[in-house]
Amino acid sequence: MWEHIVQRQTGILNFTAELNEAIGRTRIAVFGCGGNGAVLDHLVRTGFQHFHIVDTDTVEASNLNRLPFFPDAVGLPKVQAWKQHLQRINPACEVHTHRAEIGRHQQALVREIVGDVDLIALEMSGFEGNFVVARIAAQAGVPMVIGPGTANCWVVSSFEHRGGATLEGIGGFDTEDQPLEDLDYQALRPQFAGLHGFPGRHERLAPGVGAAVRAAEIPPRSAKIFIAMVNAAQCWELVKNTAVLHGLPLEGTQVIAFPVMQMFDPWRGAAFYYDASTGRVGIPDWFSGEIDWRDAPDGSATPDVFPEKD
């Protein structure tokens, strides 16, 4: 089945036989198997077949808008439903499931998983888990891709852990010397959200809905189309990282290295970049992709947009 899956992509520039083989043996950990974790569906269709998947939730009927499951999956743990889905598409998939809520008390599990993979996809919506995985990934030097699902934008970036561009360093948390179990996550949260408060991120929610989501009164909003688009972009980012990891040439494109994040606004059809360390905005030339960096217009940043819990 794997051969069938990669057959049609062979010959597209960058998708050499070597890259396909590298994809086939690259081990990926996906932390969080909800809407953004549905990048798994894209990964398996691109030929990835070694996974660690981590999530504590069960499938709810209201998840069927963004997970590729059928109603018979409702009530199953998400990790189990994903394992079935991945192995139905490619029976050779090796899937290690971890039903756990990631946080400060799960460091040993995170270390064990991170130690067994080549790449990480960080797909959780809660802050504490993301912070814990980001630090452990940086310590282990395992590249990590993020693609937080906003209701209306692509946001994709890779942590290559070179030159000290860590989440904690760039975010200015001043927490590097403190053990993960001692941190006050509630106090750090607004700063973390600020990293995602890029310009041009206009809310498209009905009045009051954004505030209700931020107050965790209702779950974050999501629509299938946006999730599918950001996940396609994340999958491509993971492919690029796979090429880099295996020393394969990557022509005419490059990894989007944090603190730079790529934004894409499918509603307006505009693509741009944001540097989380300087707050500058990069406008790509439509032809070459070269980026023209400039200061963001005043007042264009968006306040706390990061929900506490899905």
């Binding site: 520039l13 998840n63 946006f226 494109t253 032809f287």
Partner: protein, 312 residues
């Protein structure tokens, strides 16, 4: 069993309850449910669309493994319309799905049937191969749509490996036909004189028009281009890109469905032909291209100003 209301639950707030109901009541005619069409359908049903008519006479075969929303073994050997129907009903049993598994479109097809079919639908997803069927459909859609106040929007999309392209042909009295949008020579010819020779020439002209998509050829291995142009191998496709394009089609259909219902969403653009919206995944840029005039435009992401220039 999840009810329709649970499927749309999490998008409420992005869309209003009235907009959700408009999606539920929109009648979508899907011409072609291969990789693109079937993925578009999968996106639509998970956004609350519930009324579908599916047309395709192909069978699911082994080459679609990388891009069908179903697991491959479940659908191998089924008609594509049947596989898609099962998918839609599995997600939402309240769907009403009409299938036409034997319908082929060509110059000799019955235009009365197509006119009747179009009259019963609000919008069209166009994801079908073959130029004869394309000429047949686009001409009738333009004729029928010209008589309807809002036209009959038809959405089409291409997944050219790294270039994701989507547009709406509005099919209103005041908008150009599909052929005119691409500057195809056949646009000037009446239907009576279109024969197999014209179809072949039009197919070739269309191929070379698409081939002018900026930097498209750089995305292929050169040796592969030669074999592909010589038709010695099937199209290349990235599974993830096809799934992403399915979302693009669905997004464009969403914008049109809300427009048709009189409940448009502010800021959700309809990419109206002759402007084709293009996302270049490899260079990570986005722009619009007019294939007939070879003009190109792009929007500044912050100021939203439009810049226009000749395509290279």
């Amino acid at each position: 069993m999840p009810a329709w209301s649970e499927i749309v639950d999490r998008q409420t707030g992005l869309l209003s309850p009235a907009q959700n109901r408009a999606l539920r009541d929109t009648r979508v005619l899907m011409l072609g449910v291969g990789g693109m069409g079937m993925n578009a359908a999968a996106n639509l049903v998970r956004m609350g669309f519930q009324r579908f008519t599916l047309i395709d006479c192909d069978i699911v075969d082994g080459t679609t493994a990388n891009r069908t929303p179903f697991a491959f073994e479940d659908t191998l050997g089924l008609q594509k319309v049947e596989a898609t129907r099962r998918y839609l009903l599995a997600v939402n049993p309240a769907c009403s799905v009409t299938i036409h598994p034997d319908m082929r479109f060509g110059l000799e097809s019955d235009p009365i049937f197509m006119e009747r079919l179009l009259a019963e639908h609000d919008l069209v997803s166009w994801a079908m191969d073959g130029m004869a069927g394309r000429l047949y459909f686009t001409r009738i859609a333009h004729r029928v749509g010209s008589l309807r106040a809002g036209g009959i929007p038809a959405v089409e999309s291409w997944a050219l490996p790294y270039h994701h392209c989507v547009q709406t042909v509005p099919n209103r009295a005041d908008t150009p036909s599909w052929e005119a949008c691409f500057g195809l020579p056949s646009a000037a010819l009446p239907m009576e004189v279109i024969d197999a020779g014209v179809v072949r020439d039009t197919q070739l002209a269309f191929f070379w028009t698409l081939a002018c998509t900026p930097r498209l050829w750089e995305d292929f291995d050169p040796e592969l281009v030669e074999r592909w142009v010589g038709l010695r191998m099937p199209n290349r496709s990235l599974g993830s890109a096809v799934v992403g394009c399915g979302a693009l089609i669905a997004s464009e259909l969403l914008a049109n469905a809300l427009q048709v219902a009189g409940l448009p969403l502010p800021n959700l653009a309809i990419h109206e032909a002759p402007w084709m919206a293009i996302q270049d995944l490899r260079r990570q840029v986005s722009y619009e291209l007019n294939y007939a005039t070879r003009r190109l435009r792009w929007r500044h992401p912050i100021t939203l100003e439009l810049h226009e220039q000749d395509a290279p």
